[in-house]
């Protein structure tokens, strides 16, 4: 099956500085594929290159080098935009229009008939929770969260096969965030591909089948969330009952941490290298009882922080030869 989104060595340099221009690499040889029907999380701290990537995919900016395809077509092909939806970060729309008028306007750009445009707009505004009265107000009277909802509605106007969402939960209250999450899952269930960028890791953990982490304009990691975090088991946690303090003192050197939960009941943390079976055998031989044994996995946040720190910010200035080759 061909990828819904295919990115190969995508690089973007900007010239910065007023008098003495110097290159600044916003995105450095990014390569990744997104499969049809998956929710792909594009994660990274602020300034990592997430929005740059999305703008490159939308052809709002042009790459210095590399290429990208959506649904097998180059991103520059205007026809492919008939099949995609895009929510920009902190969207802004024509504030003299009402939500209804905005969707009608965009609907006409897709070439839909007047009746079709009206039906689509009404359905989507219902879906994102913009009531009948509010949708006839000019957008200048909308809150940030309401604008975000209108932004999601316009991104779905053409029943897109691939949806790009740049920080879709930004500016939303907890209820709004939950609604957006459920909408994204609904889109996946309908077989659509969702590519969303975020720095809110909880959203990625709740939604994504695969993620990519970018930092300093570079790809820091990519893969299935389950594989990524399973690989990152960093130790074991044993909960032991009837454990006597002198027995605990005997094994203390092998533990990372011990916490007394209640009298004679302890939570013991072992490093990954120490087999839990051996300590467990020692402890149970003294009459202690195993309550639970769990692997200690990294959260996405732990993984993210570590990878971002590893990549660092050293990637920003391209080597001269690379910059020349891209021109």
């Amino acid at each position: 099956m061909s990828a819904a989104i295919s990115i190969e060595n995508l690089t973007k340099d900007y010239q910065v500085g007023f008098w003495r221009k110097r290159p600044y690499r916003a995105l450095d040889r990014l390569s990744l594929d997104v499969q049809p029907g998956e929710i792909f999380g594009f994660l990274g701290p602020n300034g990592a290159g997430k929005t740059t990537t999305l703008k490159l995919l939308m052809q709002l900016i042009f790459p210095t080098s590399g290429r990208a395809e959506i649904l097998g077509r180059p991103v520059g092909d205007v026809a492919v935009r008939q099949r995609i939806g895009y929510l920009p970060e902190n969207p802004y729309f024509y504030d003299y229009l009402t939500a209804e008028e905005l969707l009608h306007y965009f609907g006409h750009l897709f070439g839909y008939s007047r009746a079709d445009v009206r039906a689509r707009a009404a359905r989507l505004l219902d879906r994102v929770g913009i009531g009948a009265e509010r949708r006839r107000q000019q957008l200048r009277k909308y809150s940030k969260g309401m604008i975000q909802r209108v932004g999601i509605a316009q991104a779905l106007l053409n029943d897109p096969e691939v949806i790009f969402l740049d920080e879709p939960t930004s500016g939303l209250d907890p209820l709004g965030r939950r609604e957006v999450r459920s909408l994204i899952l609904e889109l996946r269930d309908q077989g659509r591909t969702v590519f969303f960028s975020s720095h809110i890791l909880a959203d990625a953990e709740a939604l994504c089948s695969r993620v990519a982490v970018v930092a300093g304009g570079r790809l820091a990691a990519t893969g299935r969330l389950s594989d990524m975090l399973a690989f990152e088991i960093r130790g074991w946690e044993l909960v032991i009952a009837d454990l006597r303090p002198e027995v605990l003192a005997r094994v203390a050197a092998q533990l990372q941490k011990s916490t007394e939960i209640s009298p004679h009941r302890y939570a013991l943390e072992l490093p990954f290298e120490v087999p839990p079976e051996r300590i467990l055998a020692d402890l149970t031989a003294t009459g202690a009882k195993l309550v639970s044994l769990n692997p200690l996995r990294d959260t996405l946040e732990d993984f993210f922080v570590r990878r971002v720190a590893e990549v660092g910010e050293g990637a920003r200035a391209p080597r001269k030869a690379e910059a020349d080759a891209g021109d």
Partner: protein
């Protein structure tokens, strides 16, 4: 074509909601007030002055719309980032530029049309209240259909100004675009002087620069036939057609360059 027309309609809607029609109310008030004043101050020249004033007011008000809306056509979309969601729709950048231009031309057409009707209404009233003897002394009839010739060329001139404003707006800030457009408008009105620069200056480089500017900057003075129309002097049909043709050629060239500039622009 369909996308261009929807973009144009949206520009028109924006100008209406941004209270551009107030411009028309101001024009009507100015015309009515000035005609009352002029009627009391002058003898026999009133109809010429009202025609002159009316045509000049159409230029000034049209210029105001063309520059101040024109410079924001593209830059406002980029600054406010509304262009992000618009360009993610199935429209090309050339369609965007042409649609924006067409929208402002539509706004101008409605404005110039309403101002023309207001001018004719004032002239109609003036003709009605004058004696036949006073009317006979006029160089041209009060409600003179030839005013439309002058207004048609004014409209083409405003279309060029809009294209210039749009062109500057594709790569510069609104303030700079306004200054450049206004500057070009002024220079364009003195373009004929640049043609004859070699008669008053000896320096070859200065003459070359003047000639280069003469050939590059639109010759706005060619569109000014107000004096001829007001005084009932003939203007050849061939001149009108050739001048309008020159205007449309200049507009086409500007739109092509605007599209080329805009086509490779990054929206950071």
């Amino acid at each position: 074509m369909r996308a261009i027309s929807w973009i144009a309609v949206n520009v028109f809607k924006e100008s209406v909601r941004d209270r551009v029609p107030y411009n028309l109310a101001l024009f009507a008030v100015l015309m009515i007030a000035s005609s009352f004043l002029i009627g009391q101050l002058t003898a026999g020249q009133d109809v010429k002055i009202i025609k002159d004033l009316g045509l000049a007011a159409i230029v000034v008000f049209g210029l105001f719309i063309a520059i101040f809306i024109g410079i924001g056509l593209v830059s406002k979309e980029v600054e406010r980032r509304s262009i992000y969601s618009l360009l993610s729709k199935p429209i090309g950048r050339p369609q965007f530029v042409v649609g924006k231009y067409a929208g402002l031309v539509l706004t101008l057409a409605v404005n110039v049309g309403v101002m023309t009707v207001a001018l004719y209404a004032v002239l109609g009233c003036l003709t009605y209240i004058q004696t036949p003897a006073a009317r006979a002394a006029w160089d041209a009839p009060g409600v003179d259909p030839r005013l439309l010739e002058a207004i048609a060329l004014i409209f083409v001139e405003l279309m060029i100004v809009t294209a210039v404003a749009l062109f500057f707006s594709t790569f510069s800030t609104p303030l700079l675009a306004a200054a450049l457009t206004f500057g070009l408008f002024i220079v364009g009105h003195f373009n004929t002087d640049l043609k004859n620069f070699d008669k008053i200056v000896d320096s070859r480089p200065a003459i070359w620069v003047a000639r280069a500017v003469y050939h590059t900057v639109p010759d706005f003075s060619a569109f000014d036939i107000k004096t001829e129309v007001v005084h009932g002097l003939p203007v050849a049909a061939g001149y009108l057609i050739a001048t309008a043709g020159y205007g449309f050629a200049y507009i086409s060239a500007l739109l092509v360059v605007s599209v080329l500039v805009f086509a490779r622009r990054d929206f950071k």
